[in-house]
Each structure stands twice: as C-alpha cells, then as structure tokens.
C-alpha cells in the first residue's frame, strides 16, 4: 500500500504532542536514555494515526494510552514481573487519567505526606543531590543508617496516593 510521507505540519503537531509524552514518561523512569527509547517507541506505534491527520485531541488520547502500555511493558521486562504483578505495577506507575502535563508540585505533595526524617532524607538526596555521606553528616547519622532510612522512605513515598 502506497502512502505519502507525513506532511511537515502533521510532523510538527506530532512532535509537540510527543513533547508531552516524553515529559510523562521521563517523570516515571527518571532518566533521559530510557525516556527517549520509550518515547520513540510510542511515536512509531502512533504513526498511522498521525498520518491520517486526526485532530490533536484524538492523537493525544491515543499517544497517552500507548505510553501507559509501553511503560507497563518497560517495568515488566526490567523487573521480570509476571502478568498479575504487572497490573499492580501499572497502577503504581501510571495513574488512570494521566494529565497532559505533569504538575510540577506532585513530588512536593508526596514528600509533604511523609514523616520529617523520611522527607528530609529524600529531599537532601534527590532534590539537593547530596551524597549518602553528606546526608549522614547533615542528619547526624551514619551512612548505613541513612541507606536503610532512604529505602524505607522510598517505600513510604510509593504508598502515597497521588491526587
């Protein structure tokens, strides 16, 4: 079947939508290389829809449904999860109705619901980029104790429901 290449304008619209998809995926995998691979995969799967010249709103819905699924596959493969566990993980990794743009304060709201120590260790480590040693010095603790606290704080953060 012969199809014309995508018109330049359609490509621009697609790229703008894919910016949102990239942000959505990046916010969940936390690194550029994986986010780029997964965004490209979403784009490749969406090409027929994009070529059709569907309205941006319809394209967005399809792109995000695809992104959710691709993310599910990513976590499933990387963690070696079974089918049943993947469902749980999908719920964990991607909300039912993804916003088209991530709210910047989501993480702050999650942190705000943690105990003081848990919030502090995650703020220092992730938001301020402290090493374990620096966190330990700041909190008058040891590296070993900070590592354990970091793990418990992450487990607690995962339980906080996003609203």
């Amino acid at each position: 079947m012969l199809q014309l290449p995508m018109a330049p304008r359609a490509t621009d619209i697609a790229l703008n939508e894919l910016e949102l998809v990239y942000a959505f995926i990046y916010a969940r995998v936390g690194n550029r290389a994986d986010a780029e691979d997964l965004t490209q995969l979403v784009a490749m799967k969406a090409i027929p829809r994009l070529r059709e010249g569907a309205p941006a709103s319809a394209i967005r819905g399809y792109l995000f449904a695809t992104a959710r699924s691709v993310l599910g596959g990513f976590w499933s493969t990387r963690l070696g999860l079974s089918e049943a566990e993947l469902h749980e993980d999908l719920a964990l990794a991607v909300p039912q109705e993804p916003p088209s743009e991530e709210r910047a304060d989501t993480v702050q709201r999650i942190l705000a619901q943690l105990s003081d120590n848990y919030r502090r260790v995650l703020e220092l480590r992730f938001l301020h980029g402290y090493s374990l040693k620096e966190v330990a010095a700041e909190m008058n603790s040891t590296v070993g104790a900070v590592k354990v606290m970091q793990l418990r704080a992450l487990r607690a953060a995962a339980k906080v429901k996003e609203t």
Partner: protein
Amino acid sequence: MNKPENRVDKIVADLLRGRRLRLRGGDAEEKAAITAAARLAAARQGPPRMNPAFRKRLESALESAPNGPWLTRRAALVAGLGLAAGAVTGGLVGRALEPAHPATLGPAARVGGAVVNPRNGRWIDVAAISDLVEGQGKRVAAGGVGAYLFRRGDSVRAVSSICSDLPCELSWSGSGGVLNCSCHPASFTPEGKSTNEKYPLPALNPVQVRVTAAGRVEVLGTA
C-alpha cells in the same frame, strides 16, 4: 551488597548520575521503592524537554517510517528500537515465551500470529473440559503463558491472553463474544482475529492446547 538498602542505593545513585535503569529480576521485591526513586529523580530538573538532537531524530523517524497500517512488533525490532521494542515484544509474555516470529515480515505476519512456543515448555493441566462452556472464553494461566480457552464440542482451542498490538491483558466480554484489550480500543474474536476493519491488527498468537483421555485440558506453558 545483597542487602536491599544497598541494592536500592545503587539504583538511586545511577539515577542521580542520569544513567539508565539497570535492573534485574530480584529487584522486583523493591519495585515500589524503585519506581518512587525514578519519580523523585525525574523531579530534580523541573519539567523535562526533549533534547534537541533527540527531537531531530524523532522528526526524521516520523518522516521516514515504513508504510503499513500498523508498525508490527517485528518491524519495531527491525527498526532498531532495541531494548524499548524488546519491552513490548517481551512485555507480559516474557522473553522466554516470545512467539517464534516468521523469518520474513510480510502480509502473512499480520494475518496469523505465530504459535506461542515456550522454551522448555511443558504441558500444564489448567481445567476440565466439562468446566468450559461453549461460546464462552475462559482465562487460564499455564505458568507464564496466559491464554483464553474456547470449547467446541469435544475439542478446545486457545489464544494468547495478550493483545497483539500492545502488551496488555485481554478481557472476555461474554455479551459481545469478543476479547477486549484493556489498553486501547481493540478487540478480537475467539479465533483471535481483529474485529476492527479499519485498523486490522495482527491476529492473536495461538496457544498450544490438548485434551487428555480423562477430559483434562492441558496448555503448553512454563513450569
């Protein structure tokens, strides 16, 4: 290094250095902590934008992508999407259960899915044939192989419970008599054929099934 706090800190340290997530099977125990760490690592830099070089690559990929109604999983692999495509191909089914792909990609690849042929597969008892109702799909699991069984008289056929387009679990709709994908508007007949005429998806992968003399249904799955 076997303690969970050490392993999770290694993953955190990689994320904070901007590296890929390098995970292994045992990490599933801490999946909640790991996914939370990925989200926190992402939040460090405010709203992310695509790197201009990546945007350019994506643009040229969009404009030069192969034609066809859908990019098949095999085409994604051929296109060099590497691990990301592997995530979809393996997906729920798992790499060991990846269907044997046809050697060449042609129309036939989209007409009939390849039979699920697990490495080191073994026959797993999943049901009694008397449990199956004609005209109704029954979801079973043979180790890592998920399948829907359909009875016709004394014989049973089975198709994969995973959508052929996205790595998502299908659900049986008794009223519609179809298998619906949980991730996008796609459905399949009990024979595994896509019901969408406008965007015909690849057929579901058939799953190997047999009925024993004692009336038990066995599916070729994994231990």
